[in-house]
């Protein structure tokens, strides 16, 4: 039982990080970044190459992943999304573009990285042992603990950034009402770019963190995106509380499920539960109606 | 004494802390074909009240009855089927359909063919289209819109779109027609025409309940007027009675003079 709790906490922390990135982009641009999972995947590969292959320290590789994905985010926003949002032929076109970028990134990764699963050496060795493992105790490996801690750190940093800094407040203003923000003198275009960059960077960070535990391969994008969608739908899109709660809920659900049920049945049940939940709460726990 | 055609009993609607309508009661009695208006200053809750009558909002408490049948909280399409149809305040239309297509489509409740027959292109479905198309033409004529029959709605001016909205309401063959600000934004000549058309509609046996700001039109056309203020009903009576009612005059004091036209 305790092990499930520990696993749930670790997963919940990282999943919340993933969900926050997705909800950030959604709140700013009203577009679901379908490529979020692929950006996670790229972050994992950056860390794989820098830390795993070239031997750079982890505390260099991880920020590099964030920066790399931020650059990708800025580029995608500038060259793909802004043109589509400007021409606005049908409102679904931005979604189409999001899907297109996801396919592009995935195919790019497949072409250059191949299909093989990759892993990196663990950053630290050892574990905490709580209680008696044979009897309801729990093991928390140092790598898992580090990942959870860093995730919580990044989440806190993000929340502080959004709350206390000027660009952060601009993000909140644009998320609430872009037109009103523009009238108040906010540079909406720059803020949008920042929002997308942060969202992408968060995905990259999550990928860079989890590659140290689970490894990475070119195909995980869809899987991660699907999980991000579940968190956003259940927690509520466009609100940070929704992302965090959604992340925590999914983390625990997964931990409990994998403990008690055979492999893939866990997610089958999670999907069914989610669909039933959405019938009663179509906007998730904290979300506002959209679409 | 038979049941009123339409009745609202102590209808209340709250939005969180805000009370949009409180304890509003209204009855439309026989004979059919009367014109009843609901007026009040801005924010009086007229629109919210209308939405509750037609099923677009559920009352927080109270009942709505149509011919004695409780329709409180029923979805709009069911209420339409039972004979109460609402038109819209905004000029909501289907931009690429012609006026005729709009009205023909709005005959949806009066098809004889089932959907399957429609999909198969069965004779009964084709017969429907002819029959309903003719009915649509008649309604367009009643609304003086015949010349616009084949014009796409996106090319019609606002005044005609208002009439089109009413035409669609008529296509559903209601017993009670709720007109939501039918004369808003019309110039005096258009208003006069619309008022005459409203009279014709009422004369054909359709009871009309309307929400309006244009006081001149309201006084000209109503058989009875109900006045809302801050969500409550403050007065009810004939146009003459309402004109002289001190409570009504006080409620409107402080409004722009041009709005009144009393």
């Amino acid at each position: 039982m305790l092990q499930v709790l520990v696993n749930g906490l670790v997963l919940g922390a990282v999943y919340a990080l993933i969900a926050l990135g997705l909800t950030m982009v959604f709140s700013i641009m009203r577009v679901v970044n379908f490529a979020h999972g692929q950006m996670y995947m790229l972050g994992g590969f950056v860390v794989y190459y820098l830390y795993g292959e070239f031997g750079l320290p982890f505390w260099v590789a991880l920020p590099a992943a964030a920066v790399a994905l931020a650059v990708v985010g800025v580029a995608f926003n500038r060259f793909f999304f802004q043109p589509v949002l400007a021409s606005a032929a049908r409102e679904e076109n931005s979604m189409l573009m999001a899907v297109g970028t996801a396919l592009l990134l995935e195919n790019l990764a497949l072409a250059f990285f191949g299909e093989k699963e990759r892993g990196v050496p663990p950053i630290v060795d050892g574990s905490f042992i709580v209680g008696d493992v044979s009897e309801n105790g729990a093991i928390l490996t140092y790598p898992n603990a580090l990942v959870a801690l860093l995730s919580i750190l990044f989440i806190t940093a993000l929340l502080a950034f959004v709350r206390f800094t000027r660009p952060g407040r601009a993000l909140r203003a644009v998320a609430q009402d872009a037109e009103a923000a523009r009238l108040q003198g906010v540079d909406v275009k720059a803020t949008t770019t920042l929002g997308f960059a942060i969202g992408a960077a968060l995905a990259g960070l999550a990928g860079g963190l989890l590659v140290t535990i689970y490894g990475i391969n070119s195909g995980v994008g869809t899987n991660i995106s699907t999980k991000a969608f579940i968190m956003i739908m259940v927690g509520g899109a466009g609100v940070t509380s929704g992302a965090i709660v959604g992340g925590a809920l999914l983390g625990f659900a997964e931990a409990i499920g994998y403990e008690m049920l055979p492999g893939s049945v866990t997610y089958l049940l999670i999907f069914v539960a989610m669909i039933v939940f959405l019938v009663f709460r179509p906007n998730g726990l904290f979300g506002k109606p959209w679409g | 004494m038979s049941a009123p055609i339409l009745e609202a009993r102590s209808v209340t609607r709250r939005f969180g802390g805000l009370v949009a309508n409180e304890d509003v009661s209204l009855a439309l009695h026989a004979p059919a074909g009367q014109v009843v208006s609901v007026i009040g200053p801005n924010g009086a809750g007229k629109s919210t009240f209308f939405k509750m009558l037609s099923g677009y909002l559920k009352p927080s408490s109270g009942r709505v009855l149509l011919h004695g049948q409780d329709i409180t909280g029923m979805p709009p399409h069911r209420i339409a089927r039972l004979g109460l149809v609402r038109t819209f305040q905004e000029t909501t239309i289907f931009p690429d359909l012609t006026a005729l297509e709009h009205v023909s489509l709005a005959h949806q409740l009066h098809r004889e063919a089932t959907d399957i027959e429609v999909l198969l292109g069965a004779p009964r479905a084709r017969g429907d289209e002819i029959r309903l198309g003719e009915s649509a033409r008649e309604i367009l004529e009643l609304m003086e819109l015949s010349s616009s029959a084949d014009t796409a709605a996106r090319h019609l001016p606002q005044g005609l779109l208002r009439l089109l909205g009413i035409a669609m309401g008529l296509a559903a063959r209601p017993q009670v027609l709720l007109l939501d600000e039918p004369y808003a934004g019309l110039n005096p000549e258009e208003t006069q025409r619309a008022v005459a058309i409203t009279r014709r509609i009422a004369a054909s046996g359709v009871s009309v309940l309307l929400v309006e700001h244009d006081m001149k039109a309201v006084m000209a056309i109503s058989d009875r007027i109900h006045v809302l203020h801050f969500g409550r009903k403050i007065a009810e009576g004939t146009p003459q009675e309402i004109r002289d009612d001190p409570k009504v005059i006080e409620a409107y004091l402080g409004q722009e003079d041009e709005e009144l036209g009393l």
């Binding site: 979604m95 592009l104 679409g291 | -």
Partner: protein, 310 residues
Amino acid sequence: MRTLKTRDAAVAVAMLALLAVAPVAIGGSRYMLSVLMNCAGLSLVAAGVWITFTIGRINICQAGFALIGAYTTAILMARYGVSYWIALPASALVAAALGALIGSFILKLRGIYFSMLTICLTEAIRLAFLNGGDFTQGSRGITGLQQPFATDSALPMYYLAVALLAVGLVVTWRVHDSRVGRIFHAMRLNEALAESFGTDVWRYRVVAFGIACALGGLGGSYFAVFTQSVYPQSFTVEHSIYYMLYCFLGGLDYVSGAMVGAFALTILFELLSRFQQYQTLVYGVMMIAVILLLPNGVMAIRAAARPSRA
């Protein structure tokens, strides 16, 4: 509007005619025939997604219903020895029934919530078949399905594909061009207004979705005997996304849009095979280019300069 409809019908008829005579033109090339069969099957499945667009929903779960159709056919044939000619319509019906059932709950969601949910639904259906125990044979899948024609020639299966595609086109056309289709259009543009004259919006959404899923199931059934197998991963989220892309890129205002998109993109992909391992990458890049340059889809090129904006 008239010119759009004429162009639409002309394209549909022309494509079917071309497909009918194609085997003569391409000699006996099995490869090319199978590409066309693949395109036809994809068009059929994508037509279902197209129908869902008309009620204002972006449907990314069609792969799930193709999978349901494929498994229905596979199980009926392999387990119960049912003839394909019964399994085929049965698959469409099962997919339609499940679609109507699930749709009755989820269609109230809109926009991005609906789309994300359909992605999850596709995964859920895959997982359901993966964990179906003996009945679905899990990850092993069901293989060795017999094609319904006892001949070596690819032609009967080819013409079956074309016939099914024609059925899909006719169904889609009838749905779109009838009072029912106009009601769908009305619901999409202004639900409140449609309700005001008596439209039971919920019911029509379920009907639309049921028909869409039926086409998905029909296509899935075809693919099951075309590839003679079905696995849980025969139809994935990625496939769902491609069906949606075919509709977008072919043109959402044209009934033949799903077909045009499916043929254009699939053939384009085949033509890129010279790029070998970069094939998918070049494909992805071209896709983005098309999205940027042709926001209304391929069919809208050279259309009259009257935007049919809603």
